[in-house]
């Protein structure tokens, strides 16, 4: 029994001490935000929940070539292309602004993007939410210059809420309810407003390459001949660049165009090959 007392004493001062060191420090890693739900600020055509970091200027050049089924004479579409370039700047951790120019209908864009909710690794929100608002101004010459033409007729708007979850290291999924308003429509019986639901995802094949897919389902279609936008592609990350290579049935690269005015049909092979290249400049 005496030994037991001595043992207890020894136990309390040395062995106990060792086991204690890490428990003294505790675990305070529970409330970290997940990082990089998507590699880029867009999934393919549509925006992702990601924003440029604070003080970063992101320059993106996008191209969509002509239809692949246009044949060898057009080099399967490579001879023609639509392009978009944009500058996005991170004002703060949760707010970014951007400007862009599309060759399609010579359209200018101004946008604001805000992170509303961020997914946490443990204890906390299971999803991230970002909202995106943009105004488009077409600068193409009026079809009938002799008529009275209002500047407001050039404007259209898109509002999107992006809800995403990074399920694990490789797989992320995003839902994108979208609302589009056009001030001027082609025909009297066309609606000025329409809604769509987007779904996009990425699966990382390696640390630096991911497979992406994106689909926008039009809840109400402004015009029968318009189809739903479906795109498949790869993200390839090399240091300061992200290259995105894809095939899509939308030639337009801004929300009003690819959500509402897609004409290509996957079933008929009128698809467009395209790429996005983004480069980040650190202005801090």
């Amino acid at each position: 029994m005496r030994y037991l007392v001595i043992f207890a004493f020894l136990f309390s001062s040395s062995v106990f001490a060792q086991a204690d060191l890490f428990s003294l420090l505790g675990d305070d890693d529970s409330n970290q935000e997940v990082s990089a739900t998507f590699k880029g600020t867009r999934v393919i055509n549509g925006q992702s929940i990601e924003l440029p970091s604070k003080g970063d200027l992101q320059f993106v050049i996008e191209h969509r070539f002509g239809t692949i089924n246009s044949g060898a004479y057009e080099l399967w579409g490579i001879d023609q292309s639509q392009m978009r370039m944009s500058f996005d700047y991170g004002l703060s951790k949760n707010l970014a602004i951007g400007i862009a120019r599309n060759s399609f209908q010579k359209t200018y864009e101004a946008s604001v993007k805000a992170k509303l909710l961020k997914q946490k690794l443990q204890n906390g929100s299971p999803i991230s939410i970002t909202s995106y608002h943009t105004v488009f101004a077409s600068s193409i010459k009026w079809a009938l210059p002799e008529r009275e033409n209002l500047f407001s007729s050039r404007l259209s708007y898109a509002h999107q809420i992006m809800i995403a979850r990074k399920f694990n290291q490789s797989f992320s999924l995003q839902l994108t309810p979208s609302y589009i308003h056009r001030n001027l429509v082609e025909k009297k019986n066309f609606s000025n407003d329409y809604m769509a639901l987007g779904i996009g995802g990425r699966y990382k094949l390696t640390k630096r390459v991911s497979l992406n897919a994106e689909y926008f389902y039009q809840l109400d279609r402004p015009f029968e001949n318009y189809t739903n936008s479906l795109s498949l592609g790869f993200d390839i990350e090399t240091g300061g660049h992200v290259f995105q290579l894809h095939i899509t049935n939308s030639q337009g690269m801004f929300e009003r165009a690819f959500i509402g005015e897609t004409t290509g049909k996957w079933s008929e092979g009128d698809l467009y090959f395209g790429f996005n290249i983004s480069r980040v400049f650190d202005l801090n």
Partner: protein, 178 residues
């Protein structure tokens, strides 16, 4: 009676362990300047550290996500592509002083040997630590090198001219008595 004594000894054991020093704000800084154009460096000043002078034990706990870089994209790549901080959220070091002198009023250079666990890999290492004790503050400073290849951190060929395999790590910790 003797049982009571055992309980009493166990209960009063804690005050006997008062030779412990701790901080949650130790600083760990690492850098690599293989390429003079792009320096890879980051600081983490939320590192937890405990030193038990009586037992001669030392423990560090480092949250990988708390390393901050000047360039946000570099921080993202560090977490996503190199240390995989969602899979391996923290690095730890546990070791003991090979020989611990009684008097630490003047800074002493001491050897610590122990186990570093980082990126899911455990490795035995030895580190030289400068330790000094002033009033209730135990100051510990160390500088050492780690090899990315030892910890299975993959550096792609395309950037291997920019990122060195050997990373210089600097630790500064001011621990206060518990």
């Amino acid at each position: 009676m003797k049982k009571l004594l055992i309980v009493l000894v166990l209960l009063t054991a804690r005050p006997l362990l008062a030779q412990k020093y701790m901080t949650r704000n130790a600083e760990v800084y690492f850098f690599s300047d293989k390429d003079a154009v792009e320096v890879v460096e980051a600081t983490n000043n939320q590192v937890g550290a405990v030193i038990d002078l009586e037992a001669g034990e030392i423990a560090f706990q480092i949250q990988m996500r708390a390393f901050h870089f000047d360039i946000a994209l570099m921080e993202e790549h560090f977490n996503e592509n190199y240390v995989e901080s969602e899979l391996y959220p923290k690095a730890t070091f546990r070791g003991s002083f090979v020989k611990l002198p009684k008097d630490l009023s003047t800074p002493q250079t001491l050897t610590v040997s122990g186990t570093m666990e980082f990126h899911g890999i455990k490795k035995e290492i030895e580190i030289q630590v400068i330790l000094s004790l002033k009033d209730v503050v135990l100051q510990g400073d160390a500088k050492f090198y780690l090899l990315c290849s030892d910890f299975n951190i993959d550096i792609p060929k395309i950037v291997s001219d920019k990122i060195a395999n050997s990373i210089e790590v600097t630790v500064n910790a001011s621990l206060t008595k518990l």
